[in-house]
Amino acid sequence: MQERLKRLDVILGIHPESPYQVMEKALKRAPKDIISDLIDSGLKGRGGAGFLTGLKWKFAAAADGDEKFVVCNADEGEPGTFKDREILTLVPKKVLAGMGICAYVIGARKGYIYLRGEYKYLVPHLEREIAEFHKNCFKLELDFNIEIFLGSGAYVCGEETALLNSMEGFRGEPRNKPPFPTNDGYLGKPTVVNNVETLVSAQVVSRIGVEEFKKLGIQDSHGSKLFSVSGDTPRPGIYDLEFGLSLDEFVREFGDGDTKAVQVGGASGFCVPRKKFQSTTIGFPGGLTGDSLPTGGSMMIFNSSRSMYNVLRNYLDFFEEESCGQCTPCRIGCQQLKVGIEAVKRGDKDPEYLQQLLKLTDTMKITAKCGLGQSVANSFSSIVDNFREEMIY
């Protein structure tokens, strides 16, 4: 894997200043300055929802609570995403330092890494790193302790409130929002839940400063981002790329010369057909990822041998299994979308039925309880709209 990484060096690189030195430097500053730096940097959550990280920390710092928590969301489950695994394998100190800075800023004494169940093999490695981290905290007089919590394999637990329920021993079902975790999170206490990569990026802001950070990327999408490239590509792997890349450039770099479509943001993201590569930019305004789901940065490339019907059906198979099942639009909507396209394909339903299904995705988008149900519409409508004939014939 490693030789396939395109080094932009921001996230996965080795730097003269070690992550714990970055943390030490940060701990000498006032928390409010770190927060305002983060806000100025424009860093947005790398899990997919793209919420301003600085604001999240600010809310948690301002919230009343005798106890606060930092949770690192490492429940990487979005189909086609595998970058958090690499971060935790290659640069865990950066993640831990990011957590340490966050703990200092919001006043947390306890942190958790919610680790995807399938990444269990990383536990010994991470535990060694955490032990070393604790020694550094002791030296820096930071009263902060991190524990690993292993998930059990439900995709929805990447949604932050479902993740908190799971940690508390309840079913992994998203909660009603508000209240938000920054006020009412783990055990009802103010909690910051950040994606692995977000924590690294927060640490990057501390290391290189706001100005340097803002030089990376484009307006509204600053910094670099890890992309998990998979599918019909001669160069699958993880790439540290700046925001602002057009999909056309991306395909020229990674495609196999026969690229038909790119699924940006995994199953909960958007499918872009060739005719739109030029006009699509990778970054938050262009719809980098889906909405509020575990992991951003999944790039799946499909060439002309692929049936987009099968691709969509595959996603719907995934969603009807991985919906938590509590809310009507998501639980039943996902099933309906799947049986619906099957019926159209078989000829049991007229092609017009696809309009009914598109209307259903509109309903799901505006009524589902969490990002999972809301973002099923993304892949469905972008595939059905762009590859309608493949759905029918």
Partner: protein, 599 residues
């Protein structure tokens, strides 16, 4: 000033509303009589926000908002009835219908189903979507009390929240995820093998026909049609204040006379009163309590279990058997009024009217689902036959009256038959939480002191009402000679309803910190008037109306103390002979309990 700070204002459909901070959009809308449809919402339960039917538009929000779960914020602009909202709701209802067994014509809950009502209101086309109802769903009829039909489940989780929050039983829970998500039991076991206490609260909180009581009325029709059978029915106190709701009356309507008349018209050979055995329970249980107090206080026998706890509620009895099996000695050994009635119907009553007990079919009209289980407990055969052949719910009785073609509003009042039809006000109040305690105190205090219980007009207000746990204390002074050992004792009592509250009481006993001598526990919130066999909907407003009717009935009675019931005096003279807790009453009117597992 403090309260003014907590008042915020919002605009709902153009109308300004001032509400307290923390009020949900749904509650705010109800304040100005704007109805927002709901399905997973229930006044008794915590917010779930999972059916999404209550969505509304909030200005500035990208998505629609579930009004049951969203608190109002200052200056929020809310619209509850826009094309976007209506279209989304209709779509959601169509989805629920597509997952539902829509054979409404044959559903027990038809016309009393919240999904059916919504689908009709929104004119949902059954064919909007393909059916995704799982094929081959079997109805779980393993329990004596409860039928579970997953094909009619809308996954609102009201039953799950009921079982967990109100009852602390957790017999049913959510299992699996995604398309396979369903309401299930521990290890998917049938209902009769799990900790279910049969209280039926899940039934009265279910919006559809997914959870219903197991129906026995067809068997009863058979028996009524059989010339050889003598079919008797005893009706519980809380049924008479609720049965009206099944037949078009408002909650709390007084329809006792009509109910008796309708049951006679249905063809029951004799319509008798559970109140009679409620009075008998008080005499037996009061005697038992005095006996325990005597052993403990006078004889200093520490093996005697105090506090003593009532045993009228079969849901509660199964709860303690499962959850606190090591504390069964605290339960009164008295059978419930239903089972006392059953034991006497096939002995005393059979003798009196000269019918062979094997030809008697003994039916109970109950507010309860657990009474069905209780009737089938193996130990409930002290007459030599199954003491109660069937326990029917208030809802089943309502159905029978309809099936018989009786015009309930036109029918004239009738009186209970005799014998075993006389009762006092003390028995009527068994139907409300605190009623057994009040009845017991009226009798016990008088037995001990020879005087009326020292409360205005015998109304022991501290044990009335819907507060979860209620307490009272009565100082015993100038006791009669036989009870001189109680002189100066402050008799401390408590009343709990809803098993969540029972747990609090039991944990005190477990810890050895219970300060009480006598405790009344009812499984259902509100007591029997809120029982799992009562008309749907049941909520606090309805409970209060039924309770009001109960106390009005009590106040109207000439006799308001159980021991004054002339038929009770008669049975001790003629049949039970050696008094309360005597040999015969021990055999017929008392029982024992079974230790069960916690899972």
């Amino acid at each position: 000033m403090e309260s003014i700070k907590n008042i915020i204002s919002v605009k709902i459909n153009g109308i300004d509303v001032s509400i307290e901070k923390g009020t949900t959009i749904l509650e705010a809308a109800r304040k100005i009589n704007v109805r927002i449809p709901t399905l997973c919402h229930h006044e008794d339960l915590c917010v779930a926000g999972n059916c999404r039917v209550c969505v509304v538009e909030v200005e500035g929000a990208k998505n629609l908002t579930a009004s049951c779960a969203a608190p109002c914020e200052q200056n929020m602009v809310i619209k509850t009835n826009t094309p976007k909202v209506r279209s989304a709701r209709k779509d959601l209802i169509a989805l629920l219908v597509s997952e539902h067994n829509t054979q409404c014509t044959t559903c027990y809950r038809s016309t009393n189903c919240e999904l059916q009502a919504l689908a009709s209101e929104y004119n949902v086309d059954n064919n909007t979507y393909l059916s995704v109802l799982k094929p081959g769903i079997q109805v779980d009829r393993s329990s004596w009390s409860i039928e579970k039909d997953d094909s009619k489940c809308v996954r609102c989780q009201r039953c799950v929240r009921t079982c967990a929050e109100l009852q602390h039983v957790n017999a049913i829970t959510v299992a699996h995820k995604g398309k396979d998500m369903k309401i299930s039991t521990f290890m998917d076991l049938p209902m009769n093998e799990v900790v279910c206490v049969n209280c039926g609260q899940c039934i009265i909180h279910c919006p559809t026909g997914a959870l219903t009581e197991r129906r026995y009325f067809d068997d009863i029709w058979e028996a009524i049609g059989d010339e050889k059978k003598h079919v008797v029915i005893n009706t519980a106190p809380s049924v008479r204040v609720a049965i009206g709701e099944m037949l078009g009356y408002a909650p709390g309507a007084h329809v006792t006379g009509k109910m008796v008349a309708a049951l006679k018209k249905i063809g029951f050979d004799s319509v008798l009163d559970t109140n009679y055995t409620a009075d008998l329970t008080i005499v037996e249980e009061g005697t038992e309590l005095l006996g325990r107090l005597k052993s403990k206080i006078k004889d200093e026998d520490d093996s005697v279990a105090l506090p003593m706890i009532t045993s009228c509620s079969p849901g509660w009895v199964k709860f303690i058997e499962h959850m606190y099996p090591e504390h069964l000695a605290h339960l009164s050994t008295c059978k419930s009024p239903q089972q006392m009635f059953g034991a006497l119907a096939k002995t005393y009553y059979a003798e009196k009217i000269g019918v062979k007990p094997e030809n008697i079919v003994s039916v109970a009209a109950m507010p309860c689902a657990a009474k069905k289980f209780e009737a089938n407990r193996p130990e409930m055969k002290s007459s030599g036959y199954q003491d109660i052949d069937a326990g029917l719910t208030t809802r089943e009785i309502g159905h029978m009256i309809k099936q018989a073609g009786i015009d309930f509003s036109e029918i004239s009042d009738s009186d209970f038959d005799s014998i075993m039809g006389d009762s006092t006000g003390a028995a009527i109040i068994f139907g409300a939480t605190g009623g057994v305690m009040e009845a017991a105190l009226r009798t016990a205090y008088e037995l001990i002191t020879g005087r009326d219980v020292p409360f205005d007009r015998l109304n022991i207000e501290p044990v009335r009402g819907l507060e979860g746990i209620k307490h009272a204390a009565v100082k015993l002074e100038n006791c009669l000679e036989a009870y001189s050992f109680l002189e100066g004792v402050e008799l401390r009592v408590a009343v709990a309803h809803g098993l969540k509250n029972a747990r609090v009481i039991m944990d005190q006993i477990k810890d050895g910190t219970s300060p009480y001598h006598f405790i009344e526990i009812m499984a259902c919130p509100g007591g029997c008037i809120g029982g799992g066999g009562q008309p749907i909907p049941t909520n606090d407003k309805v409970r209060m109306e039924r309770i009001k009717a109960i106390y009005e009935d009590d106040a109207d009675c000439k006799l308001r103390k159980s021991h004054e019931n002339p038929e009770i005096k008669q049975i001790y003279d003629e049949f039970l002979k050696d008094g309360p807790l005597g040999h015969k009453s021990h055999k017929l009117l008392h029982t024992h309990y079974t230790k069960r597992n916690r899972y």
